[in-house]
Amino acid sequence: MLNEKNVFGSPLPRIDGPLKVTGTAPYAAEYHDPGMLFGHAFYATVASGRIASIDTSKAEAYPGVVKVYTHKNRPALASSDDAWKDEVALPGHPFRPLENDRILYDGQPIALVIAETFEAARDAADLIRVDYAADAPHTDIEVEQAKSYVPPEPRKEDFLPTDPRGDAEAAYDAAPFKIDAEYVQEGEHHNPMELFGTSVIRSEDGTLTVYDKTQGSQNSHDLVCGVFGLKPEQVRVVNAYVGGAFGSGLRPKHQLIFAVMASLDLKRSVRVEMSRREMFYLTWRPATVQRMQVAADADGRLMSVRHHAVQATSLYEDYQENVVNWSGLTYKCDNVRLSYELAKTTMSTPGDMRAPGAATGFLALESAIDELAYEVGMDPLELRGKNFVTYDQNDDLQLTSKALDLCYREGAERFGWDKRSHEPGSMRDGQDLVGWGVATGVWEATLSPAEAKVRLFPDGKITVSAAASDIGTGTYTILAQIAAQNLGQTIDRVSVLIGDSSLPKTAVEGGSWTAASSGSAVQAGCLEIKKTLLSLAQKMDNSPLKGAAVEDLAIRDNRLVLDRNDQLGLAIADILGSNEMSSVEGHGKVEPDQEQAKKYISYTHSAVFVEVRIDAELGVPRVTRVVSAIAAGKIINPKTARSQILGGVVMGLGMALHEEGMIDHRTGRIMNHNLAEYHVPAHADIHDIDVIFVEEEDDKASPIGVKGLGEIGIVGVGAAVANAIFHATGTRHRHFPITIDKIMEGLPGQ
């Protein structure tokens, strides 16, 4: 391995940072074209029913308006569901904007105004009048769960609840200590900073360059080709910079369809951008009800785990998450039964939101485990340690690595857990009730198929290209680091080209797999370069590298040398020059190892420790300290890695305390559809967050030893906060978010 440049593992600032802070990194809705048209959607104001009539005449007559599209006059679009299924589509019928007169959810786009200016489009949209034949809405998960069902078609085989093992019911009945509790979580709505937007730039020959806010340029590309019957070469999709996505951009959104539809129809460049309000009708983390039945013996050993979850989905698709399987693999337990159902609601289809499934499942599991520890009368961290398991009991597979024990140990030490007193309410400090809580987190570490091209020039410059996306996670930077590391250069020599559907194939950016997958593809590309250079060098006269193997090589000072004796080697310029080449390219490709998958499975792990201080009379909560200890294999860049965990923790605090779509269940409409009333944590809500990456060697999770960090940071945070609030106040909160009124009502002496 080449390691002397020390690029790998350095906390390098992100290479796209200067562009971002100076406002020069262009986002999807910032690409201009003279003569561009602008679109603004008009959305339904009932949650269910039909459009009885829609009057667009005033909007059409509005100065500057070019055309108003509704289900009545839209151009023909693909008619088969298949054409509408994107790379990560769900079982069911994908949403097609302006398909017909049916209203499936509050905020559904039912008209599109295209005008010469954004303002004209927006203002004209206010003039559209609709009569609805409305049906009764169904939006309250606590009511709709009565009609829950097992999804007939699983989203993924892995998401199916694993088969029961042992006899969970009998073991529960026989156990001395048990918990049977229900946890309810309100829906959360994706609100990354960048709004969804698409700019379609039409060139004279009719081909389209589509700047789209997405987590996968090739996913958007293929969907557009399918829906509009275009040839692949007629469309190029670019998502060079993405202003946060967190899963919201995994599936292409209707503004993409709208912008392309209008551009093709009107033969002009078109931009359609959403408003903040429209963000509330897109992808959301579904409202969920979970029932946990867990039992332990007097030593705190788990005797039985039953976990049943019911999640909201839409009328038209069966969105599903892996909510319950975590409960069968986090701790050792021989009697397990897991079940998962959906309930139809008149809401838009939910979607993946940072650690989908795990963030929700661990909210219930880790709350229940804490409750159980208090039943048994045992320190909650000790009980977790007691049930440590070293393999995956669900699938009977070995783990590629699991340094969760180190997370517990190092996290507890940093936090000072040994100074905790067990009794709730026993750590009062003046006016503050102090509570300490802990939770475990697990997330899957996966590799998805990825390709990358790497090109090395004689002067040591490198270009890396792949269709990967950087959704703010630092992909640009780590790909540069990996290339620099492998080709013996400093990071400033590397240019990274990503976010373009015409580049080498990459899956959508999600599931925390980009670093491992694209990173490994880049490494594979670098290896190919070295192999090519070596074979070229060996053909040269008097080559000092005759007989050398590629493993023995390093690149130093632009020379291909023997690692153990770098006097022996050749300048890259000479190798290329003598072969009349101006550069050398390597094409790297990775795929999950199917053979390995029969024996091994890979997860990232975390232990999160939280301190809350709660005003003893008023119930005002402050999360004053968080320690998040993470085991995620090799850390390529501690700085971008830490940022991912910080972001995950902050989002977890929002999930625990703030975020909630408030629905008027009489009408099925979301009422707090703006960022003044939909609360995420403000700066004042965030105090010390300490991130620890524990040592974890893993040579199987991915070729570069990386496991991915995008989601693990949020997992467990909600439960750790709830557990800390219990420790402070003695009241268990099982309805999330735990807002100030709930805490106040649960204070001692109320």
Partner: protein, 338 residues
């Protein structure tokens, strides 16, 4: 958003003439509320009259010891002005409890008084709302009403006035100076905002064509014992669920004089001067404060989601008065409850 005409007034006379010329004309001050509402298609003025050039940007210290704050002085300027900090720290504290630094820099004194409710339904023109569209009904009654009123509501509207600054101004018994076609007048703060009764579309007692020119504060004895306590859904940058502006004049442990106003609970900053008078002369103790809280909240009624505001207000009143009595006012910078 609807098209509108824009004019910039150079004098008060210009502004009044422009208002008189168009019944839907609106003045533009900081714009932090008006422009939002126009974008949401809630406010639909045909004419915008920009008053930012009017000479209403001074804070004057008057010979009789009072202070006059021009209507266009920014919230931030008021909060950091030495004379205000010294004599009306309660006002500074209330301002700093609200919004964000960016908003406080843009928001003006007059605009703050006239900001409109944050009721979700008011903000969404596709729902019924008597305040936005008289006679259309009230969406919030029986709906999502976490942030709504527990005092002084009517069957037509249960909205609250969202301002923090106004709660302190109510407690300090400010005077609002307005000027209109019929000349100048002074409006005592308690008469400025109104309860919804059967006209929720009217937030206050100003007449069309009138302009706020200043807010006047008289001398007081409260600078030593005051507190502004705000409870909300996150520690900063959220409107009050309940807030309390408390001001005491205490001697030898006895209340000589007191003021208390509540925010987030009614269609106007809630103040009951009869109750204040009754409690003068009583010991400044927790028992007294609890009795006062009960008295203030005697008629309180929840709407469902906001039932919690009644116990919350009771506790907040007691705590704010305790903070005031102890001379340890709530600090707004670190948001830590004292």
């Amino acid at each position: 958003m609807r098209p509108f005409s824009y004019t910039r007034a150079e004098t008060l006379g210009d502004a009044m003439a422009a208002l008189a010329a168009n019944p839907t004309a609106r003045l533009l001050a900081g714009g932090t509320n008006l422009i939002d509402l126009m974008k949401y298609d809630v406010e639909r003025p045909a004419a915008i009259v920009d008053i930012n050039r009017l000479p209403l940007k001074e804070i004057e210290e008057l010979p009789d010891g009072s202070i006059r704050i021009g209507a266009l002085v920014s919230n931030a300027t008021v909060a950091h002005h030495p004379a205000v900090t010294e004599r009306y720290p309660l006002l500074c504290s209330a301002i700093l409890a609200g919004a964000s630094p960016q908003l406080r820099n843009a928001a003006t004194t007059g605009g703050n008084l006239l900001q409109r409710t944050r009721c979700y339904y008011f903000y969404d023109p596709s729902t019924p709302c008597n305040k936005r569209e008289p006679g259309s009904g009230c969406g919030a009654i029986g709906g999502v009403n976490r942030i709504h009123a527990i005092l002084g509501a009517s069957e037509h509207c249960i909205a609250t006035h969202p301002s923090d600054m106004c709660v302190a101004l109510a407690a300090l018994a400010a005077i609002v100076e307005v000027e209109g076609p019929d000349g100048r007048r002074d409006i005592p703060f308690s008469d400025f905002h109104r309860l919804p009764d059967d006209h929720p579309e009217r937030d206050n007692t100003m007449r069309h064509g009138e302009i706020i020119t200043a807010v006047r504060l008289e001398g007081n004895h409260f600078a030593g014992h005051h507190s502004y306590l705000k409870l909300r859904d996150r520690l900063s940058y959220a409107f009050a669920l309940v807030s309390v502006a408390a001001a005491l004049d205490v001697k030898n442990g006895m209340i000589v004089d007191m003021r208390i106003a509540l925010g987030g609970v009614a269609h106007k900053p809630w103040r009951d001067s009869l109750a204040e008078a009754e409690f003068a002369g009583q010991p400044a103790t927790e028992e007294t404060f609890a009795a006062l809280a009960d008295r203030l909240l005697a008629g309180a009624e929840g709407q469902g989601d906001n039932d919690f505001k009644i116990p919350m207000a009771r506790k907040a009143i007691v705590r704010a008065l305790k903070q005031a009595a102890a001379g340890t006012p709530q600090v707004q910078s670190d948001k830590q409850i004292r």
